[in-house]
């Protein structure tokens, strides 16, 4: 039917005091974004989980793993004729502050060692010398053996043939907290992206609010765009808070430019927004989407090296780990923040995030259920 043939649409006038106003192209988008931000602001749980919780986590872990002075090695000497000399020798050595020494009979010494009370047992050797009993699987035991041997030999008059000296290093940039904060940033962007988008969508679908919106001339793309934009705004706040905490409390040094960090954050937020969107594209109930979300995020919690380096996983699965979006994001954030690596060298990680986000978004548009 051509337009000319269509029925004349009757004019209806509501007696109004004010003339009708005109909305422009982006009025819907602006209002959707504003409504979203207001809702988030008025939801105390959201403020806690998105902003406060990561800060507490960083604080807690940062304090737990703060760099402490090296602990003294506990050494036990089995009392016997051959070992009588060992104690005074150790006490005289320049490193004596590093040792905590007990002298016990053989049974008590072995028992204490088995229970982990002692790192090293010094026993009499059949040949009249000393024998070290240590556990090669316990780093502190290995350390104690080396230190004790070194101290004993030196105190007994060994001459070192190479002149050496030492300098200690616990500079900001190489500590655990420096490793942790970018990891937490990445994980936080994943969590809040997935939940912020996925949960919100399924909730609105369950409440039939999506259906009600679709009943208006609202552009669907505006709706999704507003949801994504709200993520970007939150992302900026999340990054600012965590980095500020790192700098102020833990004296972290941020080497990368703020611009490149925010750009990586945006890539991460949008990537996980897309993944959240596709996860929530069909679910009708909060319960079912919660399960799905955990399923999607689980591998990344485990493998992506948020808390500990993923280098320890077998080499076979390293490529898989590196293909995960959270690995890409945390690696990118780490190198950018800690080493100041320029964005141009981050392209493989950006590509990983772009692919995950882009493919998810495309699938979400295909599968998305508005009603």
């Amino acid at each position: 039917m051509s337009v000319a043939e269509q029925t004349q649409i009757p004019e209806k006038t509501i007696p109004g005091k004010r003339p009708p106003r005109r909305n422009r192209r982006w009025s819907g988008y602006r209002h959707l974004l504003m409504a979203r931000m207001l809702e988030l602001k008025r939801e105390p749980e959201v403020v806690f989980w998105v902003f406060v919780f990561p800060l507490l986590l960083a604080l807690g872990l940062g304090i737990a793993f703060r760099n402490k002075p090296a602990e003294a090695s506990s050494v036990v000497i089995v009392s016997a004729g051959e070992t009588r000399e060992a104690e005074p020798l150790l006490q005289r050595s320049p490193q004596h502050a590093l040792f905590k020494i007990d002298v016990l009979d053989a049974d008590a010494a072995r028992k204490g060692f088995r229970l982990g009370k002692y790192d090293l047992v010094i026993e009499p050797d059949a040949g009249g010398g000393l024998r070290y009993r240590y556990d090669p699987a316990r780093p502190e035991s290995v350390l104690a053996r080396a230190e004790v041997d070194d101290a004993l030999q030196a105190a007994a008059g060994r001459k070192d043939v190479v002149a050496t000296s030492v300098v200690t290093s616990s500079e900001p940039g190489s500590r655990y907290i420096d490793f942790l904060i970018p990891g937490l940033l990445g994980m936080n962007l994943m969590n809040s992206g997935m939940w912020g988008i996925g949960f919100a969508l399924v909730d609105m679908r369950q409440r039939k609010l999506l259906k009600r919106f679709v009943g208006t001339p609202m552009r669907r793309s505006d709706f999704l765009l507003a949801l994504m934009s709200s993520r970007l705004v939150l992302m900026i706040i999340e990054i600012a808070l965590l980095l500020t905490l790192g700098v102020i409390v833990f004296h972290m040094k941020v080497l990368g430019s703020l611009f490149s960090i925010l750009l990586l954050g945006a890539a991460g937020a949008l990537c996980f927004g897309g993944v959240g969107l596709v996860t929530a594209s069909r679910a009708q109930k909060i319960e079912s989407v919660s399960g799905l979300m955990n399923l999607v995020m689980m591998p990344m919690w485990i493998f992506s090296g948020v808390f500990f380096s993923y280098e320890r996983f077998p080499a076979v699965i390293q490529p898989l780990i590196k293909a995960l979006p959270l690995t890409a994001l945390t690696d990118a954030l780490r190198t950018s923040i800690l080493e100041g690596t320029p964005l141009i060298h981050q392209w493989p990680r950006l590509l990983v995030m772009f692919l995950w986000g882009g493919i998810s978004f495309a699938l979400a548009l295909r599968w998305f259920r508005w009603t």
Binding site: T7, K12, N23, A35, E43, K208, T371
Partner: protein, 314 residues
């Protein structure tokens, strides 16, 4: 007056099995208030959501002012104000923010303040939606529909669960909209609502229209003008067979007979002819009249006559 809403042979089958709508035809004129009346599960909501363009029909044609959803959806949405059954709006937004949000989707919406005033929500404008009563929420739902300055208002069970005062308030708002030239399509399972509010009705059952017309017309055609209900002693009517029920049908001016809660209900055109004959017949049987009332026939009688069931029964 041009046709506002039209649909032909509308069908909707869910998952290839459940036939929610089975061949439904409607033609609603501009300026009319049209009601879809029927029990829960009759297919009213499916029908109205297809007309609103929210559901795709399995087959059939829908046009709104001559436009089809397939060609012109965005433009058509500008004309429709919709209130779905049970939409839960965001609890943490205020009433005004909610109305403003919906207004922002339309090219030429009305002023939010004006709509809030019309729906008596001005006082609550800054209250969060979560704090509203049921009646206020329902009025807000209608406010989100009216703020777009619609030509057609779709209301799915607008007064379900509301107290009598809130219902009356909503009826007033709907009439006001209609007086200003608007077209209304509403679904309801309340007889009185349909009878008072609607210019025309379609009674829907099992996904089909089983009768349509204006409420007085439907009552006259199908309900009889009056209903005479009575019970006789001596033998319980509940045990009476069809033959004895049929005996009452022979009384003058009786159009139909049915039995309900142990009483006989006669649809009657002129009670002043029927009642004396009834008394005489009871006397002849030697039994005693235990109960006798007459009342105006209602839509409920129409529905029961057509389906043998009451509207509110599940």
């Amino acid at each position: 007056m041009p046709v506002a809403i039209q649909c032909r042979d509308l069908r909707k089958t869910y998952d290839g099995k459940v036939e929610a709508v089975r061949g439904l035809n409607l033609e609603i004129q501009t300026g009319e208030c049209f009601g879809l009346l029927g029990p829960n599960g009759a297919g009213k909501t499916t029908t109205i959501e297809i007309l609103e363009g929210l559901l795709e029909p399995t087959s059939g044609e829908v046009s709104i002012f001559g436009h089809s959803w397939r060609e012109n959806a965005r433009q058509m949405r500008e004309w429709l104000g919709i209130s779905l059954q049970e939409t839960r709006l965001s609890e943490k937004l205020s009433v005004r923010e909610t109305v403003e949000l919906f207004a922002s989707f339309y090219r030429e919406p009305r002023s939010s303040d004006e709509v809030l005033e019309q729906l008596q929500l001005t006082e609550k404008a800054d209250a969060w939606v979560g704090k509203l009563s049921g009646g206020q929420r329902q009025r807000l739902a209608v406010a989100t529909a009216l703020v777009c300055n619609p030509k057609i208002l779709f209301l799915d069970e607008p007064t379900t669960g509301l107290d009598p005062q809130s219902r009356r308030q909503l009826w007033g708002i709907i009439r006001e909209f209609q007086r200003a030239g608007g077209t209304v399509l509403l679904t309801t399972h309340y007889m009185d609502e349909a009878e008072r509010l609607c210019d025309r009705l379609a009674i829907v059952d099992h996904g089909q229209i089983i009768a349509d017309g204006s409420p007085p017309d439907l009552i006259e055609r199908l309900g009889g003008h009056h209903v005479v209900e009575f019970a006789v002693g001596a033998r319980a009517v509940g045990n009476s067979d069809g033959a004895s029920l049929e005996a009452w049908r022979g009384l003058p001016s009786v159009e139909s007979v049915r039995e309900e809660d142990g009483m006989v209900a006669l649809s009657v055109k002129e009670p002043h002819l029927t009642i004396p004959a009834l008394l005489e017949a009871v006397g002849k049987q030697g039994s005693e009249l235990q109960h006798l009332t007459t009342r105006q026939a209602s839509l409920e009688d129409v529905f029961v006559r057509l389906t043998g069931r009451h509207l509110r029964e599940e």
